[in-house]
Structure formats: C-alpha cells, structure tokens
C-alpha cells in the first residue's frame, strides 16, 4: 500500500433532526481498496458526499496527500482527482450515453462553443470497450435498463482517471457477471495505484475485493481492520453490535397445496412469452433469472401496472380481470417494486402517509374524513414492527437512509394485509441487519399463510428463502425447481436457456461459472 491519499478526521455533519456523522475518521491509501460498511443510515454515503463536496461538513478536517483541503463543491473534488459513483443513479435520461459520460468536459471544436460529437462518441466507445460493455454511445440513457445505467455511471467515473475513486453501492443493480467485470476493473485500477473507497452491503464481496474495511455505526467510526484478518461474522457484529437472525435453509415441504394464484399463458409483446405458473398458500416462490429476463415485467403485468396482450389470471380459483393496480390490490395482491424511489415512495411526504397510502380507505369516516388517530396507530405499529429508523412518523421519507426507505415500502403492503405479495428485489441496497430482518419477515408472513413471490438477482438469497424457484430467460419460464433440487448451477443453466437455436449452437460449450465466482 502506498502513501496516504485521503485523511479525514473529526468530521461532523448534522441534518435537520439527524446527527449523521459525529467525530468520523477515515484513511485511504494509494493502491488499496478500502471498504466502508455499516448498517443503513450509518452515514457512509454522507461521509463520502462530504469528501466529494456534495455536502459541506460542519466540523473536522480533510487532508489530501498530506495537505489540508476544503471541498466546497463537486467541481473542486474532481479537480483534486476524486471521483464518485453515487448510490443513486445520477444520469440525464434524455441525453445519450456518450453525452452523459462527457457532460461538463465536452471536447470542443472550432470556436470554443461547438461540440465535437464524433469525438465523444469515439472516446465513449473506447471506454465502454474497456469495461466490456457493448452499447452504442448514441443510445439514450432512458432506453437502458437500470443495470446498464449503473454500468454507464461506472464508465463515467472511470473516465476521470482519478486518483481516488469512490463507489457507493455500485453492485446493487448489477448481475453477478457484471459484478465480476467490475471487480476486474477495480483490481486493474488498484494495481495502477488508485485508491478506491468501496461501499457495499454485499459483505461476501468484501473478501473478494477489499484490502481494508472500515466499519461505521450510527454516524460514528467504529474501527478499521485488514480484511484478511477478520471474518465476515466479525464484521457483522461490529456493524450491528448484536447477533442477527439467520434462517436455516427454508423448509422444502410446503404445508398447503391450496393454489391462491394461477397465471396461465401470459403474453406481453416480446418481453413476456407464455408465462404460466402457480403460487400456493404460505409459499415463497423465488423468481430467478439474469438481468432483463422479464421477471419485473411479469410482476408488473400480474399487478396490472402494464397492459397484457393475452393470458388469464386466477386468484383462489376465480378468474380475475386485472386492468389496473387498483384491481390487483382489490384481489389482494401487493407489489413491492424494484425501484423504490420511482415507483414505491412519496419522497417528499412523511413516513406515516407512505405507510398508509394503500390502506387509507379503511380509516375513513363521513365524507371521506380520515381518522388520524387510527392512521397514526397503524403507521406506528409498522414502524415498530419493522424497526424503521426514523425520528418520527412525520419525518419526510427522503431523509431516511435507503434501507429504511425500503422498509417503509414493505410497511405499506403489510398495512394493506394482502394475501399475495410480490417482492421485486426486496433487499436491494439493504444492510445485513435489515436484510436478515426482511428474511425473517418474509418467513413469518409465509408462515402466517401469506403467499409470496420473491424476485431476486442474488442467488444465495433465492436459494435460502424459496420453497420453490421459477427461473426465467428471455421472457419465458425455462424451469421450475423445488428447494431441495435447486443449486446455483442448475438455476444458471435454466437462466441461460436461450430460445434462439443459433445462439444455442454457438454457446452450447459455455461453461457455467462456479458458485463462488458468482459471489455465493
């Protein structure tokens, strides 16, 4: 490890109602990958935002290569050679990939004002090739999947050639293959002497990629350790300060045989092709597949969020005609989307309103009068149940950390008391503690007779939680596995079972990567 690049000490930051950082310290050396971990709301993002000039610190000192610096805005950080991939996507959806990557430093031609579009497209192409991302630089970002957008963010951060690169949960939207690609790039950079701050809730990644780990809790610095000296369990206990709930492998036998949801021959354009499956009472049905396999599409179609071309849906044996989410909710179906900010939350509104949003009709009196006391009690009960960390029911959701936001969305559907719950990537961007709570919650829900569809891109999670697993590829269900027969290998086999014969021929010899390489 080389010289000390960044040294932060005594950092303080307070938001209205939240002491986000107190006496925080952090050290980054050249040529190391330094992981920053902690529960949701521990202050990780805040710390790196202070370092990159997004927030100004209340107190404390920052040294860059030994010299004390002030970083009042992102531009200064860029000029120092610090770049960041934010936890939330920060792209301009109406602009192309190339335009996004070179925003703010467009090559000019002629008199200084003319853009050189050709050059940025070329440079972008090179950059994308470097990270093995095959995209046309002229594609509009709005047309990309979240995962692709995340890769574009990574490409953008790389393009600065910075000496310090900060990645705030870069893998939360990535498939395992893409994650491996990212690690390859990170190692390359590290070998060149770049210092990397790596924030993630996927603790198994730490062992693969990080040299040192700094743990934060409740806005405070806990400790910095060398990764090879500690176990994951040790890190976890440092993070949460307690033991966490661990499921044994979900019981393969599902008690009930009663089918609560049956989907027959669902079709929607090219993204859903003849999807049929059923869901039994008290069952957790895992949906596995690669990025873009169509799992989200199926969920949205069932939920009535998108129109379908054909297909039948039966709830408890009765054929239902779901035309809108409203119909679905009436049939007792709840859907927790994969992009909570866009589809799940009213960011500008308080925790209470978000939790009771789908339920409020239950608390109405004469002329639509809302019974505030009952609403409050309902919301409070879910805040307590889910241990949502918030200063109060009136706190605006946008001020909660990502994990707590996710819990608020879950709270909304628990309040609604739906028979059938579809969880789309329920643990995306959530810390281990909260994750285990969510697992426990899913199990409790299933035990209490609710039926759950769980879409997840994390195979270990799928394997651990599901009674049964459906695997999708290219809009079709390519296989169904019971918990006992499921392994990562078999799931991957189904997940890559392509329709196109030509592709099959060309790739029949492809070896499925082994489980460890997939991050298991």
């Amino acid at each position: 490890m080389g010289e000390v690049l960044v040294l932060m000490e005594g950092i303080e930051k307070t938001f209205p109602g939240v002491h986000a950082l107190s006496q925080c310290q952090f050290e980054l050396r050249a040529g190391e990958v330094h992981a920053l971990v902690g529960e949701n709301g521990a202050g990780k993002s805040t710390l790196v935002k202070v370092l990159t000039g997004v927030y100004t610190k209340d107190a404390g000192r920052i040294f860059y290569k030994g010299k004390e610096v002030e970083i009042p805005n992102p531009r200064v950080a860029q000029e120092l050679g610090i770049s960041i991939i934010h936890q939330e996507l920060n792209l301009m959806p109406h602009l192309t990939v190339a335009q996004n990557i070179f925003i703010g430093r467009e090559p000019r031609r002629g008199i200084r004002f003319l853009l050189n579009e050709k050059e940025i497209n070329q440079k972008t192409k090179q950059l994308l090739d470097m990270i093995h991302l095959d995209l046309d630089p002229r594609t509009k970002v709005a047309d990309l999947t979240v995962a692709k957008q995340q890769m574009v963010e990574i490409a953008k951060a790389l393009s600065y050639n910075s000496e310090v690169l900060i990645m705030d949960e870069p893998t939360s939207a990535l498939s395992d293959a893409e994650t491996q690609e990212l690690f390859r790039i990170i190692r390359q950079l590290r070998d060149k002497g770049v210092g990397i701050i790596y924030i993630s809730h996927r603790l198994e990644e730490l062992k693969q990629i990080s040299d040192r780990v700094t743990v934060m809790r409740d806005g405070r610095y806990i400790d910095t350790v060398r990764t090879q000296d500690v176990t994951i369990d040790k890190i976890i206990s440092m993070m949460v300060g307690r033991e966490i709930y661990e499921t044994s492998r979900a019981n393969p036998e599902n008690a009930s045989q009663e089918v609560v949801l049956e989907v027959k021959n669902l079709n929607r354009g090219r993204v859903i092709k003849n999807v049929s499956f059923n869901l039994k009472r008290g069952e957790i049905l895992g949906f596995a597949g690669l990025m873009g396999a169509g799992r989200t599409e199926v969920a949205r179609a069932i939920f009535g969020a998108d129109p379908i071309d054909s297909g039948e849906i039966y709830v408890k044996g009765k054929k239902v005609d779901i035309k809108s989410p409203r119909d679905a909710v009436k049939c007792g179906i709840g859907y927790l989307s994969e992009d909570r900010k866009r589809y799940g939350l009213m960011l500008g509104m308080d925790v209470e309103t978000n939790i009771v949003l789908a339920t409020i009709e239950k608390f109405l009196g004469f002329l639509g009068w809302v019974n505030k006391a009952r609403v409050r009690a309902e919301a409070q009960s879910h805040v307590d149940e889910l241990r949502i960390k918030t200063p109060g029911l009136q706190q605006k959701v946008k001020y909660l950390s990502g994990g707590n936001q996710q819990k608020v969305v879950i709270g909304k559907w628990l309040a609604r008391d739906c028979e059938i719950l579809i969880f789309d990537e329920p643990t995306r961007g959530i810390d281990v503690g909260a994750k285990s709570e969510i697992y426990k919650l899913l199990n409790d829900l299933a035990e209490s007779g609710k039926s759950i569809i769980m879409i997840s891109s994390e195979l270990p999670e799928i394997l651990r939680m599901s009674h049964r697993i459906a695997v999708m590829c290219e809009g079709r269900i390519t296989g169904e596995l019971s918990a006992s027969e499921a392994t990562q290998e078999r799931i991957m086999q189904y997940a890559t079972m392509r329709e196109n014969r030509e592709n099959d021929a060309r790739y029949s010899s492809v070896s499925v990567p082994d489980a460890t390489a997939l991050g298991g």
Partner: protein, 339 residues
C-alpha cells in the same frame, strides 16, 4: 420478543428514542403553524408600513374594501391550490369563473329560475369545466398547462357566445346582490363566504382522503398508481373541486357586480397562482396549505390597495408589485432554509 440479554443494539434503540424526542420538539417548533405565523408577520409589516404612510389606510372602510377585493381572487386561489399541490396547474380559473357567472345570469335572468338554482347552477358550471380539465389531463394525458390553456379559451369564447357579448344584469332579482354585498356586523357576505370556503378547503386538504391523495399525486403519481389508487378518478375529482371554487368565485363576482360580465376573467389566473405561490405552495407539487394561500392573496391585495391609497402612479404600482411578488417568495425560501 423473546427475552435476551441487553445488547449494544438495544442501547442504540434507547438512545434513538431520546433523540427522537428532541427531533420531535424541534419539528414542532418549525411546524407549519409557526411558518405561517412568520408569513403572516410579513403581511403585518406591510400593514404597519401603509398605516404609517397614510392615515386613510387603516380605516374600517378601507379594510373592508381590502377584504372585498381579496374575496374573489382568494376563492380562485384556494381552488387552484389543490390543483397546484397535485403538481398541475390551472390557467382556466379566471375565464371559468366568468363562465360560471354568465351561466348564473342565464339561469336567473334569462330563464327566471329561483336564485338558489342559479347559484348552484353557476357552481355546477364551474364544476363541469373543472371536470373536463381533469378528464383531459387524466385520460388524454395532456399536460395540465395545455389542457387548461385550452379550457381558458373555450370558457372565454363560450361566455361571450352565451351572453351575446353583453353583460347580463340581475335587475329583477335585487336579493341576488346580497349574496356578496349583504353584510353581517359590517362584514360583507363576500368576505364571509371567502373565509368559509377557505376553512372548508383547509379541512378537505388536511382531514380527508381527497386531501391526502392531492398530496400523494403531487409527490409521486406513479407510486400512487402502484399503490392501487385510482389516480385518474382522483385527479378528475381534484380538478372538479378546483372548478367548484371557480364557480363559487363566479357567483360572488356576479353578485358583487350585480351583473355577469362576459369579457372579464383572463389574467385572474396569474394573480391566483401568484397568491398560491407567495403562500408557500410549491409549483412542483406535493406541498402547500390553504392558510398560506389566504395570506398570499391578502399580501397581493393589501399591496395593491396600499399603493393606491398612497396615490403612487399606476405604472409604478405595477413595478412595485412585481418586485414584491419576487421578494415575498424569496422571504419564504429564506425562512425555510433557516429552519
């Protein structure tokens, strides 16, 4: 929960609980109420300044005049507050108001219907326009700016067509003018109607489902839809409610002028929207209060009246109002930032 030794986590929870209380205290202090009192303060300052500048300003008659001048625009502003909180806009409030007053005239003067039917009919005409605005916005997915711009023109044209481009007088029904101009304890009915409407609106906004959904639509419409809310229907309901207030304003206007003036109305939408925004409601939706709107409407009319009383030349009045509109919103922004 099963019994287990107290862990670090539990301590953290206890600590959190203490922290929460502090936060709660702080957030009570910066509650909406406090904020509006501060906004109210700037209204008071304006009042004091004008009172010192002219002995005629703070006289009872002039205050009543200010209240009257606020009433119609205030009701319009209250109505458009709902639409703005959903993240929409309603440019048609002014001409819909006119349309409603023309329809009242048609019912009462042309068709000789009872006054109460005329009043309800006028309000219903406003509601209909609002309903159409809402339907165009919700079902045809036309941005509200355009939908209501279209409605602005349609209502304007129809008012002229229906009235035969002539004012409709309520000469045969002298009682009609009492709706706005009668008074209780010296306070004109129009003012009482305005306050009544504002109170009802405030209750709707804060205590009913409609109010909650108004905020929800403005905050994240897609999330609302995916929560099973019938977004289109509620949106139509909210625009209809806005139309009802425009209709009420139309009846008040007709009563005050004892006539339906078909050419009036355009330009009122900007005044109403300005009042809403000065009152702290955000044009991007998701937040706002009726009390703020009422204060905003008063700031506008106190200013206009005060400058008139001081006999400031009219062209300068325009300049001053322009500056104050910006300053008032800026003060609101500073205030929020300070908290």
């Amino acid at each position: 929960m099963e019994s287990r030794p107290v862990t670090v986590k539990d301590k953290a929870i206890l600590e959190d609980r203490a922290k929460d209380k502090a936060v709660l205290r702080r957030s009570l202090f910066r509650s909406d109420a406090t904020q509006k009192i501060l906004a109210f303060a700037s209204l008071i300052v304006m009042f004091v300044v004008f009172s010192l500048a002219s002995p005629n300003f703070a006289k009872f008659n002039n205050i009543i005049g200010i209240l009257l001048a606020t009433a119609v625009n205030g009701v319009l502003a209250v109505g458009v507050t709902f639409v703005i909180i959903t993240g929409g806009i309603d440019l048609s409030v002014g001409t819909v108001m006119t349309f409603a007053s023309v329809m009242t005239g048609v019912f009462i003067t042309f068709w000789k219907l009872p006054i109460i039917i005329g009043v309800l009919g006028g309000v219903a005409a406003g509601a209909l326009c609002g309903f159409i605005n809402g339907s165009i916005t919700a079902k045809m997915k036309i941005p509200p700016f355009i939908a209501t711009l279209g409605m602005m023109m349609i209502a304007k044209g129809l008012s002229l067509v229906i009235s035969g481009t002539r004012p409709i007088y309520f000469i045969d029904t002298p009682v009609f003018s009492k709706i706005a101009m009668g008074s209780v304890l010296g306070i004109p009915n129009a003012v009482l109607v305005f306050f009544g409407a504002a109170i009802i609106a405030s209750l709707i906004l804060t205590k009913t489902v409609l109010g909650r959904y108004t905020f929800a639509l403005g905050s994240n419409e897609e999330a609302a839809r995916l929560s099973g809310i019938n977004v289109d229907a509620w949106k139509i309901a909210i625009y209809t409610l806005g139309g009802i207030f425009s209709g009420l304003a139309g009846v008040m206007m007709a009563s005050r002028l004892n006539s339906a003036q078909p050419a009036l109305g355009q330009g009122y939408e900007l005044e109403a929207i300005a009042a809403v925004v000065i009152g702290g409601t955000s044009l991007s939706g998701g937040e706002g209060t009726i009390l703020g709107t009422v204060i905003g409407a008063f700031i506008m009319s106190v200013l206009t009246n005060g400058l008139r009383i001081l006999s400031i030349p009219q062209e300068w009045q325009t300049v001053v109002i322009g500056v104050i509109v910006i300053a008032a919103v800026y003060a609101d922004i500073i205030r929020r930032r300070g908290q």
